[in-house]
Symmetry: C2
Subunit: 364 residues, 2 copies
DNA sequence: CTGAAAGCGCTTACAG
DNA sequence: CTGAAAGCGCTTACAG
């Protein structure tokens, strides 16, 4: 493949001139410019972006480590990131950590060694190894944490109001008259802790006791939904809040095994909305997280750190964007069955009045 | 960040020696080696992979352009690719074309400019621009086509036996006694053409007439499933084969509008199996494509072209791997309802005896 | 306006 | 066994 010197020779100019016309980085007189353009055309010259990256000390590439795109929650987040990334002319390096700290560390080291311009990370459980933290600090590569917190690296953050969303879900169940509400939570990560807080807060607002045995952790996979579901059903809840879609799938299997019908015998509110939920029964009532926006805003935040807008001095503070959830009422919560026979309690929760999509935004 | 010369200086050796210990590419005497290792440790030296790529003329990076990972078919394919990629120590650049030829061309040009070592492509509809085809040829960057064919670039291929899978699906419906079987097909791409061939072949084997008005194209999205579904329902089919999951979701909405129940009023067999299909009603009967394996084998094929195994001369022929589908019988096809009341016709189709996962493999 | 030259940070024959 | 030097293909001050 032709390089910049081949083009320069054919156009009888210097490499610097070729570079100037390719990048439109300096005025080049019309005659030289057209000679260069012709040479590029003849030789089918394509600048080598690896060499450019080395010279410019930036790769125009972002690295994203997701938990697992085979979990249907993540693809939309990745799309949000990718669309924002491509809109800026950047490329996206994608990795899945499977919530495994070792894999995650491995991916991050590679990204940093490849000199990505920024990193998007949904933290796997556990801590980041000290060497990775040190590398982030030494390289000053900007990081944006997505959903989950706790890397130990100073960074911007895009999260979801998990606490408020869970509160809304549980409050919805309480309003429908359920009295023994279980929770199928995620593993011990920041999002799960915030969700648990929302669950407890709703119980408190309704002056219901908190029974820790009604909260069972899981790892967001189908099998965990089944296993933890069985464990939970033994405690006889009349409703349950489930932290994600795949665990709900497993939970449905547990229900079938117990010959329980949803929503007749047990009410369900779950996280993650999907286009197909309307088409199959029971139609799930969900707390939807704005998946695409999570990704898009995370990427945009990252770009602000990479290329501060003109005039905007490099921020020295860190930003947190918290996105809202929304309750989608369908049938699994038993709304149809219950809202009619008892007046749906419209007692306003203190959270139910917020309107804007973004709750909090600004220096934390 | 420290570079190789900083390390060399501190260890009182040359950069070549540092390189030799970092890459274990040559013997280095123990004293020098330990000095180098200490220097690396002290300076927290991490080789700059951009510079290495430029020097070595390879990036250890693959580019993959998928159609759209927000369609739940693709994430598993991407995982297959990523796992195989990471197992080799490579990175993966991901892009979505949205089945748009312009986006696709744009992504491919960028990948090539970034000097990826290989490309995985699921072709968007339409043709590849001549300049992109020319670039592939000139650069000799290996390409593997995934599922869809027709780039105009000589390449290895991983496909699925769409024709056989569709045949099996339609034959299943015919055996169940359906007489007016519609088809909600994809857009005019190679996979859709092969599926149509399978559909027609099944009808022929059962000596049923082919009615082109019972075949409606779609673009694999929910809306198309609804729109084309409405169009199809007007022709009054008693069963339908649908080319993917999202269109099935749209079709279910069309059914609801027509007050039709599945499987009582209409039987459905669809493509793409998912873990959640067992949990919701109607439980879909599907032709499953081995998504993860498609991705994994495509990546492996690509690596064979990138780094031929020792002794294996660079292949001059092109390979095609065709993976099998499998029929998962659940309830949407009406099996329960019909298999009992009429003896399920066990007439063996000529395709039903194959066993191996891989049908054909070898030079085409 | 244009070009010569240095620099980005590695690798890799090739001497010694 | 080890190092000096050239090369990978760009960009970017800096002269002129």
């Amino acid at each position: 493949m032709a390089n910049i010197y081949d083009v320069a020779r054919r156009a009888r100019v210097s490499a610097a001139t070729v570079s100037a016309v390719v990048n439109e980085s300096a005025y080049v007189s019309p005659p030289l410019k057209s000679r260069v353009e012709q040479a590029i055309e003849r030789l089918q010259y394509r600048p080598n972006l690896v060499a450019r990256s080395l010279a410019q000390q930036r790769t125009r590439t972002l690295g994203m480590v997701a938990l697992n795109i085979a979990n249907p929650f993540w693809p939309a987040v990745v799309r949000g990131v990718e669309d924002a990334t491509r809109a800026r002319g950047y490329e996206l390096l994608l990795a899945n950590s499977d919530d495994d700290p070792d894999k995650e560390a491995q991916c991050l080291r590679l990204f940093l060694a490849k000199r990505v311009d920024g990193v998007l990370l949904t933290k796997a459980r556990g801590r980041l190894p000290a060497d990775v933290v040190a590398e982030f600090k030494a390289s000053a590569v900007p990081l944006v944490q997505v959903m989950r917190l706790g890397t130990g690296v100073r960074s911007d953050v895009v999260t979801v109001d998990e606490e408020g969303g869970t509160y809304e879900a549980v409050a919805h169940l309480l309003r429908l008259g359920y009295t023994k509400i279980g929770m199928l939570n995620g593993p011990n990560v920041s999002t799960s802790r915030r969700r648990l807080a929302g669950y407890r807060e709703a119980l408190r607002a309704w002056q219901r006791p908190f029974d820790p045995r009604l909260v069972v952790p899981g790892d967001f996979r189908v099998e965990a939904g089944y296993d933890s579901g069985i464990a939970l059903l033994k405690r006889g809840p009349d409703a349950v809040f489930i932290a994600n879609y795949l665990m709900t799938v497993g939970f449905m299997q547990a229900l079938r095994q117990y010959q329980l019908r949803c929503p007749e015998d047990i009410g369900i509110v779950t996280c993650d909305d999907h286009p197909w939920l309307d088409a199959f029964a029971p139609r799930l009532t969900t707390i939807n997280l704005p998946k695409y926006d999570i990704g898009r805003r995370a990427a945009e935040l990252l770009f602000e750190a990479i290329e501060p807008a003109d005039g905007a001095a490099k921020r020295s503070t860190v930003r947190t964007i918290t996105l809202r959830t929304s309750l989608h009422i369908r049938e699994s919560c038993g709304y149809e069955l219950r809202a009619r026979r008892r007046s749906y309690d419209r007692r306003a929760s203190r959270r139910s009045t917020r309107r804007a999509d973004t709750i909090g935004e600004g220096p934390q």
